[in-house]
Symmetry: C2
């Protein structure tokens, strides 16, 4: 199946603003509500959202083997279950429909009226029903920074870290799309030098700059996925803010890991960018030493050059960019994460989500959390409005952006933006 | 809504063998496939499985506000979403239908033929689609035993344990019903005195004796559930074997908790016993000192007297009971677990499952895992066939049983039985 959708010379008859994340070479997938309150699966070109349910009803996917209501659903799970061949056929068809040389839809105003919407007029929903959500911890720089702060500066990386793509389970029920506000959590914390915990709103709410990938039905229970086949089962990627309450985390996480410090909310960008769309941005990942065990060994270009940026926008001020990082810094690849996750026979389903873990670079301005950027609050950041941040304040909006860029095209994710609301009062 | 179903003097016209877990006072809920390959929701009296989908079609639930296909589904999630009032109405109706004084179904052979099956002729399925699965760690004896073995015998309980019902997220995708075999996992372990990990089948596969409760849609994201209302949102309980690979766990679990050591499989008993059915077996839980923070404080009888037993059955021998424990030993109640889980606003959905954590008593014969029963393999158990066990061998079946008993009735869970198959070979 040729991947014709990636031709960088192709133009669309839909206008694509300069520096848009969504040229015709992207064709991400998402779920949205139209002005008429219809929920549909769709894609995006420039600032136009495209109703794929309507396209299917109008016959534009004829010849592709799809169930009748494939795109008239409120999640992408069934489409994702259909597998990589179908994803590619549909993506290829979409670029054909919107190619500047193709007049079929372009010149049919009646059809265009029910298919194409301004993104300002739709509301993006969660694109998949997430079955299980796993978060990895695969940035060496992040793991080292955290180890230096909380454990032993001389032995910051734990003994297992260079052998295992360390991961843990998170909570699916509180993953929300960009635009949904989240609440500062209440909880137990142990103040410095106190013997007993106290209760109240977390004082150290943080973002975590991550990406996440979304899987298809990959295996039967008991069957591992070989590392060299793992990418076949990855549908695409989103930006991911794994909201964290550092003070709650510190008190609760030994010995079973973070729980309430993380499961109050995580935010994702709503358009899933396919692995096909990211193909041109493969790069070689960091050298792995010691050599991993055989089930984790892979060669070739398994990392992706994705520029990542975090900005903080106070309630009534402009935003300030606080971090510039890149997905290519990740020590463990997504294929290695998936191979590790299933080496024990763990079953992977359509719509499962796997977070990268916080993505920090090697320089202080590329760290992926306030914990690292301010080194535990010791070095506050000054925002452009002059205000100071050690962690995230009430009513701040945290905005993550991500895009790939080469001489020919830019493929991006749009935004993952969410506001932190004040804690509710517990009587 | 009176809970008439609990009248201990009531008899059913369905035969109930002596010491059955399923008298007419139980009325658990489950999902099964009939001989004719129909999937239905049902209940059980004695050794008879009752097709509630057929009962509904025949009009036996008339007068109760239910969707037309409520019981003709492959999960209980929608029924659970309808809330406690509906659960109680349906349970009350079922005991009326099967009361020895009620001739309506009893004397209608045609109806009985499509409603009542021998449990030997049906196959039990997973009763709910589990959204998120959380496992707690709420037995003080278990946490103390593990702390003594792996950390500091003098300070076995970690500082947070008496303040927090410690919990962590698990994986829903590998929870299977009783009767489904599970595979010994492959994975990384660090041999004693080795510097580098090795790869292969786990050598220390263990069971964990637990129960789990299943929730209804309890709250909106951001809203805590008060401890004194939490039980309203608990549909019922099952027996739970949280299969664990101790050698994989030891190497992987610091700092983010158990992952591959646990997520290869967990087994549950297939009939969900409602909280209403367990009402007569309330007891006072252990004294909690220090007093928990206010959001965890409760009074009254919040524990349940449920006898629990674990047996190991080698491939070609009789079973041997290796542990006798009781759910009433749990330090933290289910209400406290649910109140804690949501104090940060974490959303709870219909079909979510929460494990108790390993339930150990204070005496060595009441410990809830091989890890504790053999004290890390130091004191092997001798089975009735003369063979020795430090952990679980290939082709052993682990059987958990649980029941409540007073002078008048016995309410039980049946079995959670699953066989450990050998590891697959990784090339």
């Amino acid at each position: 199946m040729p991947n014709i959708a990636n031709d960088p010379t192709r133009k669309s008859w839909i206008n694509v603003p300069e520096n848009s994340d969504f040229p015709i070479q992207n064709i991400p997938f998402g779920v949205f509500i139209t002005k008429e309150d219809v929920i549909t699966i769709g894609t995006r070109i420039g600032n136009s959202a495209i109703d794929m349910g309507a396209l299917q009803q109008l016959g534009y996917f004829e010849g592709i083997d799809l169930t009748d209501d494939m795109f008239m659903q409120d999640t992408l799970n069934d489409f994702i279950s259909d597998g990589k061949k179908t994803w590619r056929l549909v993506r290829n068809r979409l670029v054909e429909i919107f190619d500047s040389e193709n007049s079929k839809l372009r010149d049919n105003k009646k059809h265009k009226d029910v298919v194409i919407f301004d993104v300002k007029d739709i509301e993006m929903l969660l694109p998949v029903q997430i079955g299980d959500y796993t978060d990895f911890y695969s940035s060496k720089e992040h793991a080292t920074n955290v180890g230096k702060m909380f454990r032993d500066p001389e032995n910051a990386l734990l003994p297992n870290w260079l052998h295992i793509p360390v991961g843990y389970h998170g909570r699916s029920s509180t993953i929300v799309p960009s635009g949904v506000s989240v609440r500062r959590p209440n909880g137990q914390t142990l103040p410095a030098d106190a013997k007993e915990p106290v209760f109240g709103p977390s004082k150290l709410v943080d973002f975590e700059l991550e990406t996440a990938f979304i899987t298809t039905d990959a295996n039967l229970m008991g069957e591992p996925i070989p590392v060299d086949q793992a990418e076949e089962y990855i549908f695409g990627m989103v930006l991911f803010n794994d909201w964290s309450a550092r003070d709650i985390q510190k008190w609760e996480y030994v010995p079973l890991g973070p729980f309430l410090a993380k499961n109050f909310a995580s935010s994702i960008s709503p358009w899933i960018v396919t692995m096909d769309a990211l193909e041109a941005f493969r790069v070689t990942g960091p050298e792995q030493s010691p050599t991993p065990l055989p089930y984790l060994q892979q060669s070739g270009e398994n990392a992706f050059d994705i520029n990542l940026q975090v900005a903080i926008k106070p309630e009534n001020s402009e935003e300030t960019v606080v971090s510039n990082s890149n997905f290519k810094y990740m020590y463990w690849s997504m294929s290695q994460q998936l191979a590790h996750h299933t080496i024990n026979g763990c079953r992977i389903n359509s719509g499962d989500m796997m977070g990268s873990g916080t993505i920090s670079g090697s320089t202080p301005d590329s760290f992926g959390s306030m914990l690292e950027l301010t080194w535990g609050g010791k070095n506050p950041i000054i925002l452009s409005d002059g205000s100071e941040r050690k962690f995230i304040n009430d009513n701040d909006t945290v905005i993550i952006r991500g895009y790939c860029q080469n001489d020919e095209i830019r493929i991006g994710f749009g935004e993952c933006a969410s506001k932190l609301l004040p804690a509710i009062e517990i009587k």
